[in-house]
């Protein structure tokens, strides 16, 4: 479904991704953890072409992302993406947030788009908020709307860029529940998150299609935690371990390590 081969990406002097490779098969949920600044978000932005990369190859559902002439818009319409800051369109009602791309990008009729949108709002438990503006919703509700907005295009896979990092603690679970539901329904997902609980939950369901990986040696605290977990539930994913099977990354430049305390704290 998603194949990342030897991708290199740098912002000026700072090398963010180096020889990064990962394969995601259909129905798999990949949890990507690692300290802030280690290029996790950059990777998923590269996967749907929001960020250009310098070398390597990314193929999503048979479409080569980095090649000149690839219709990125058409590709992105099939790859859902959920952002840390929700990025709902504040000038539109919730329902319009869900219908606009269906109508403008996929060419669905307004009625069809509306039906689909309401069904999805139902699924994330927010149908009664359809006519509100995003600003009237809590963070957790907004993120659920954002997930529904992506699902409205019937994506073949979903990318999550720290979907719970901007949320108050009491709202994290309502978003994670939606994501767990998605994973159980067989959605292919790449999730950048610090939520080990999520990885564990999805894994306990079926560890075989869940892999987690990290770029680099994680801070000691979280690494020992996840090892403890691995010991408890034998089938849990290898989260935040240094031997991530799918993703490899050269260590980042020293300044980036400063982000470690952040990621450890947010678990």
């Amino acid at each position: 479904m998603i194949s990342v081969r030897d991708v290199y990406k740098s912002y000026g002097e700072v090398e963010v991704l180096a020889a990064c490779s990962v394969d995601v098969r259909k129905g798999e949920v990949i949890v990507v953890c690692g300290p802030s600044g280690s290029g996790k978000s950059t990777l998923i932005k590269c996967i749907n072409g929001l960020e250009p990369f310098e070398r390597g190859q990314i193929v999503v559902d048979g479409v080569e992302v980095g090649r000149r002439g690839t219709n990125l818009s058409r590709l992105r319409a099939r790859v859902g993406m959920v952002f840390q800051q929700f990025e709902l369109f504040p000038h539109m009602k919730v329902i319009d947030n869900l219908t606009i791309a269906q109508v403008k990008v996929l060419g669905r009729s307004r009625e069809e788009a509306r039906r689909k949108a309401l069904a999805l709002l139902d699924r994330v438990g927010l149908r009664e908020h359809a006519d509100k503006h995003p600003g009237q919703l809590s963070g957790g509700q907004q993120q659920r709307v954002a997930i529904a907005r992506s699902l409205a295009l019937d994506p073949v896979c979903m990318l999550f860029d720290e979907p719970t990092s901007a949320l108050d603690p009491e709202m994290i679970n309502e978003v994670l529940d939606v994501m767990v539901g998605l994973a159980r329904d067989g959605m292919t997902m790449v999730v950048v998150t610090h939520e080990m609980g999520f990885a564990r939950k999805v894994a306990s369901r079926s560890s075989s299609w869940t892999r987690a990986a990290s770029w680099r040696k994680p801070p000691r605290r979280s690494s020992s935690r996840s090892r403890g977990r691995t010991a408890r539930g034998s089938s849990s994913p290898r989260c935040c371990t240094t031997d991530g099977p799918a993703l490899d990354r050269l260590s980042p430049k020293p300044p980036l390590i400063a982000g470690q305390s952040l990621s450890a704290g947010s678990i």
Partner: protein, 225 residues
């Protein structure tokens, strides 16, 4: 002590109203066309295509670097004869109003484009990314997601610029077009009561513009709230 005589004003009111309609007409057309063209220029300016961006930058730079009066004069001299040739109009047709509207629209577009550019940049990058991630083309993202928010953020500034534009329409006196200011001048000149008429015209501009500014302030508070 100057002896004020306001008696010529009441009789001149219908004529002054005609002039006011010209002023408001020019303002309305220039604001609408200026914002539309200015928005196009702003989008062009931010385009990754270098030639497109340079054109917009050049256009804005040019119009912001020449006096408005001069632009108006160019247009009074050039546009009427051009339009007559193209549309085969008779020389009797008065094109001064049309050329004034075109001149103001093109001139103001330069200023509006700078406002809209700031507006576009005031919308977070994530909004555009989210629109693109939904499969929208860059232009769709601009039109459906970024511009509505940019417009809303900049509405007070756009309206303030419209108020300035309304005042600037008085510059059409260079073409002897009877806008409100021109009408007042003509009446004052005719009756030998120039001082009174100009004071009166000034008072009218003052009242209208401060009322409008006050309304914009109210609106700004509401938009921000």
């Amino acid at each position: 002590m100057y002896d004020f005589d306001w008696s010529s004003i009441p009789g001149a009111l219908p004529f002054l109203w005609q002039g006011m309609k010209v002023s408001l007409g020019i303002t309305a057309v220039a604001v609408a066309a200026g914002i539309a063209w200015g928005t196009v220029l702003a989008v062009m300016r931010l385009s990754p295509a270098r030639a497109v961006s340079l054109f917009a930058a050049g256009y804005v730079g040019l119009f912001r670097s020449v006096p408005l009066v001069m632009v108006l004069l160019w247009f009074f001299l050039i546009v009427p004869s051009l339009l007559r040739d193209v549309l085969r109009l008779s020389h009797a047709t008065d094109l001064r109003l049309a050329s004034a509207m075109v001149a103001f629209a093109l001139f103001e577009a330069a200023y509006y484009s700078e406002i809209m550019r700031a507006g576009i940049q005031s919308v977070s990058k994530g909004q555009r990314a989210a629109a693109l991630a939904l499969g929208m083309t860059p232009l769709q993202a601009m039109w459906h997601v970024v511009l509505p928010q940019a417009f809303r953020n900049m509405l007070p500034l756009l309206l303030t610029q419209a108020i300035i534009l309304f005042q600037d329409t008085s510059l059409v006196y260079v073409s002897a077009l009877a806008d409100f200011f021109g009408a007042a001048y003509k009446v004052g000149d005719r009756d030998g009561r120039l001082v009174e008429m100009l004071l009166f015209a000034g008072a009218v501009y003052f009242v209208l513009c401060s009322a409008a500014s006050w309304a914009v302030r109210l609106l700004r508070r509401r938009v921000l709230a």
